[in-house]
């Protein structure tokens, strides 16, 4: 009886530890990619063991090119030897494959809303914030208009909620999470306040809550490195524009 119990316990433990069962999870990322960060957060939130492969964008590994021949970008998730690319696609895959700590809601309409907001973030918010960042003077003023409109929509969506996912961090929080880190950095570089605590109180509060949440906080890329990187990107864009 004792031996049987022992073996059952061992099997149960082995099933719990995915690596012993041979379920290999590997994430190809760069140190700074906000898209790859979404995957780090998702894997951590679900307690999934994984290996990390850091890529140098200027010198992409043969593996990356093999696993994402179409876009040749990070992130790529490798699960049991099969690659998945595109961060939001990877998030959905992770959510469907590992059921603990669900990222998307259960109700189909709420799921649709989550997908809508994630898409809004990538299609509209990201580009509009970037426009503000890489422009100067009057052009920058003009770029602020659509950026602020987009942020106001996010502000509305947070009404009555701590996170976009409700009481806990969910799919939309991970998709928009880059805001919580990048906005502050860009504001510092550009010397312009984009998310004003008075004009956008809920979004401000969310950036704080999300940014300080344990798993999220532990994984932000090095601030100094980010400042340097984005300063350089901004300078390069100005140089190209003035040619």
């Amino acid at each position: 009886m004792c031996i049987k119990k022992g073996i059952s316990a061992a099997i149960a433990f082995a099933r719990y530890d995915q690596n012993i069962m041979g379920e290999e999870v590997k994430l190809f990322r760069t140190w700074s990619s906000p898209f790859a960060l979404r995957i780090v957060w998702a894997l951590r939130i679900k307690g999934i063991e994984y290996q990390t492969v850091f890529e140098d964008i200027s010198n992409k590994s043969p593996s990356l090119l093999q696993y994402n021949p179409v876009h040749r970008k990070v992130p790529v998730l490798l699960h049991n030897g099969r690659p998945i690319a595109e961060s939001l696609v990877i998030l959905e895959y992770i959510d469907e494959t590992w059921k603990q700590a669900p990222l998307l809601p259960v109700d189909p309409h709420e799921r649709a809303m989550a997908r809508f907001w994630a898409k809004f973030g990538d299609d509209k918010v990201l580009g509009s914030i970037w426009s503000v960042f890489i422009k100067q003077g009057k052009e920058q003023e003009e770029a602020m208009v659509p950026a602020m409109e987009n942020l106001k929509f996010l502000e509305e969506e947070l009404k009555g909620k701590k996170f976009f996912g409700g009481e806990t961090i969910g799919f939309v929080d991970l998709a928009l999470g880059w805001l919580a880190n990048l906005i502050g950095l860009l504001e510092e570089i550009v010397g312009l306040k984009v998310v004003d605590g008075e004009k956008l109180p809920l979004l401000s509060a969310w950036m704080q809550e999300f940014g300080d949440a344990p798993i999220i906080k532990d994984n932000w890329p090095a601030r100094d490195g980010m400042i340097l990187k984005f300063q350089a990107l901004r300078d390069a864009t100005f140089a190209a524009a003035s040619k």
Binding site: V70, H71, H79, R82, I84, A85, E86, L88, V89, I90, E92, Y93, E96, T97, P108, H109, R111, A112, M113, R115, F116, K119, F120, F153
Partner: protein, 238 residues
């Protein structure tokens, strides 16, 4: 005929659309594929209804699906909603990895084919040449996928079971691409270098729930000719 369980789930299904829009057509194909009854409301895009503006305040555009009073916008989001709400005739595969592949290709089509076609239409000269080159390359990738996945027994990307998510997302090319080429003054379609893609388009056109929905070329061209000058005007005035 719809089974009673389908009718129970349906509640009220309303689609706000515009006859010309390929994005609306996608949603219609998804609904028809599953045999879902719906009320169709034709919007006047120059005079958008209050219903449209309140249902989709962020983008203020069609398609919008309203199910039991709940609005959903963005064609790909709507299609996934339809697939999760009505279980018959699955659009996406069941297996998570296959689903990821389908979503990956849908994204690729949207970013590299659909969006690029839109840009090519409203651009001119050097800018257009650049975009058309990228669009051609994207279609080459699609051709590669068609070559790898399709054969005499598997006509569609949905697999042996027939059409699926990727087909519905790519489907607009089978009727709108030629028209856009003509009006936009560029060429990307080439039956010789894209034989599998052309075969796929021909097969998709013939799908029972697709065929009756395709507007004749003359009607599309007429509408496009109206729109392109206006769009270019908008771009030039920025």
């Amino acid at each position: 005929m719809a089974s009673s369980s389908v009718a129970d789930q349906e509640g009220q299904v309303m689609l706000l659309g515009f006859w010309f829009s390929p994005f609306v057509k996608r949603v219609e194909w998804a609904l028809k594929f599953k045999g879902i009854e719906y009320d169709y409301v034709e919007e006047d895009l120059t005079n958008k209804s209050t219903l449209l503006l309140t249902s989709n305040p962020i983008h203020m555009r069609v398609p919008v699906l309203i199910h039991n009073g709940n609005p959903i916008a963005e064609s790909l989001v709507i299609i996934e909603y339809i697939d999760e709400t009505w279980k018959q005739n699955p659009i996406l595969p069941q297996d998570p990895y296959e689903r990821a592949m389908a979503r990956f290709w849908a994204n690729f089509i949207e970013q590299k084919v659909t969006e690029s076609t839109r840009e090519a239409l409203v651009s001119q000269g050097e800018q257009q040449e650049k975009i058309v080159k990228e669009l051609k390359e994207a279609i080459e990738v699609v051709e590669g996928e068609a070559k790898a996945k399709l054969n005499d027994k598997t006509l569609f990307f949905g697999g042996g079971n027939g059409v699926g998510y990727v087909d519905i997302v790519l489907g607009w090319t089978c009727n709108w691409m030629e028209t856009i080429e003509e009006v936009g003054g560029f060429k990307v379609l080439d039956p010789e270098s894209q034989p599998q893609f052309h075969k796929w388009m021909a097969n998709f056109r013939e799908v029972t729930f697709v065929k009756p929905t395709l507007a004749p070329k003359e009607k599309l061209v007429e509408y496009f000719r109206m729109v392109r000058p206006a769009r270019l005007g908008l771009v030039a005035n920025k």
